[in-house]
Amino acid sequence: MIRLDSIPIPVNGLYVKELGDTIIILSDNGDELHSLDEVGGFIWRSINGSSTVQDIIVMLLQEYDVGKSQAEEDIKNFLFELEEKKLIKI
C-alpha cells in the first residue's frame, strides 16, 4: 500500500539514460528496458530518496494542469508499477 508519507527510493544498479524528453531505464539484471514518457520522466526525476509521495504530488501539480485527486491516483498507480517492475523501493 502506497501512503502519502511513503518515500520512494530508486533501486541500486539501474542504468538510466535521458534522451530528450524520454527516459530509458535498464533493469538491474539487464533483462528489461523501460521507457518513460515526459510525465513519467518528471515523476522519475522527483524520486530522489527524500521526497515523499505527497511532495511529488505537489511538484506535479505545480508543473501540470491537473486535478489533485486525479494526480494522486495517477502517481500512486505509476509508483505501484515502478515498484512492481523493481525499479523503486517504497
Partner: protein
Amino acid sequence: MSLIYFKQKASSFKEYYLALFRLFSPISKLQSLNVRCSMAIKEKHKLASDWLDLLNGLIPHGTIVELPVLTGSMVPLIVPGNTIRIMALSGKQIRRGDIIVFREGKTLTTHRLLARFTLGTWSIIYQKGDVNRLGKWIHTGQVVGMVVAVQDKNGLVTTISNRDGDKKARNEALRQLALACWNTALLFPRFIKNKFKIKIHEFRMEIGDSVIGITCPTLKYFKYLSDYFSVRNSEREPDITVNLNFIHHEESIEIPDSLFTTKKIMNNNFIIAHGLVHGKIGPEINKIQLWVKTGLAHGQAIRVFEQLLYQIFYSCRKIKLNDSLLIHSSGVIYKNCGFLFAGPSGSGKSTIASLSGDYHVLNDEVCLIEFHDADITLHGTPFNGYFKNKMSGSARLKAIFIISHGRVNSISEIKRSEAVKQLAKEIIPPVPIEEHLNRKIFIDMLDMADRLYRSVPIYKLEFIPDSGFWIEIDRLFY
C-alpha cells in the same frame, strides 16, 4: 591496373543504363535534374561504349580511344585519375617495353610487356604492372591495344614512345623482368616449405581497419567459406587469427537463432549452444581456436555461423582499441558520401540495396561504422545478405535512415528517444567471443546509438519499391 570504369561487370552495363533511365525518365517536375543527369549519362555512356568496344575488339586497329585509369599498378608512369590514350592493335604489333592493354575475362588491364615467347603461330607474353612483384603469362591474342600517351589531371599529355630507336622503355622492361625473376626466385624457399608441410589454408578478411586471419585445415571448408564471403585476401598481417576446425557428426543438430545468448565461459574456454561451437583463447590474446560442428557451415546455417565472426570482430576491436560498431543495415555510397539504411529484417534493407544498384552498394545486411576524431566513416563488410553485387569501400557517413515500407517515398524527422531505441536494436551486440552478453553490452549499444544520433543526422524513411527515394534524399542534401 584495371580499367573497369564503373566497377560494374560488362554484362550488366545494359541493365545499368536501363535502370538509370528508368530512374530519371518518369519525373517531369524535376526537369533540371533530369537534364543534368541525362548529360552525365551521355558522357558516361561514351566512355562505357569505348570501353566495351575495346574489350570486344571492335575498335579498328590504329584508332585511338581515351579511357580513365582507376588503379595504381603502373605508378609512377600512370597514376589513378589519369586518362590514357590507347591505340587499338593486335598482339602481333607489340614489342618488349610497350605498355599494353589486354583483356582478362571481362576486364581490361594495362601493364608493361616484359618478354615474349613464340612457337609457330602460338605466342605468349609475360607482362607485369610496374609496382607488382610478379608478372603473369598471357596469350598474345588477349592484347587489344597499346598506350601511346598519358594525360594527367591538369591536361598535360606525355607521349609514351617505344619506337624510333628510343631505348628507354625497353631498358625499363628488362629491369622489370630482372626484378620479376628475382622475386620468383625468392618464392622458391616458400614453395619448398609448403610442399613438405601440412598445408594450412588461410584467408584474411578485412573489416574496416581490422584484419581477421582464418585458417582452415580442410580444403573443402576453406574453399566454401572463402567463396561464401567472397574474400579478397587482405595483404595486411592479421590482427587476430582464428584456427577453425570442423567436427563431423552423424546426428542431426538444432541450429539456434543466436550464438550470443548461449555462451558458457570457463577460464580461457568457451562453449556456445551446448557444444555446437567450442573454443579457446591462446596462447596469445589474439589467437583463437574454434571447433565447430559441420552442421553450422551448411546452407542457411551459415548465416548463424556469421555471428561467430561478429564476435571475433569485436574481440579484434577490443585488442586494437578501435572505436567501431557493426550494425544490421544496408550501406550505399552516393555522391562520395556514405548513407546507412537500418531496420529489422523485413524492413527492406535488401530492397534498398537492389534499388541502389546504380550506386556503390557496400552491403545489404551488416555494415561497419568507425568513429574517428574528426568524422565517422561507413565501411562495407564481407558478411552476406541477399544482394549479390556488393562492393568493398568506405566513405564518410552522411546520414542514417531508419527504414520501413510505406505507401509513398517520404523522409521525416525522428525523435531522439525513438531513433536511439530503433538504432540500438540494430547494432550487433559488441560482445567479444571470449565474453558474455551482459547488461553492460546493452548499455554500450544504447550509448553507441545515442552517440550516432548526436553525430549524424537520422531520419525515418518510408519507401515504396522504386528508386525514387533517392530523389527525396537528393532534395534533402543536395
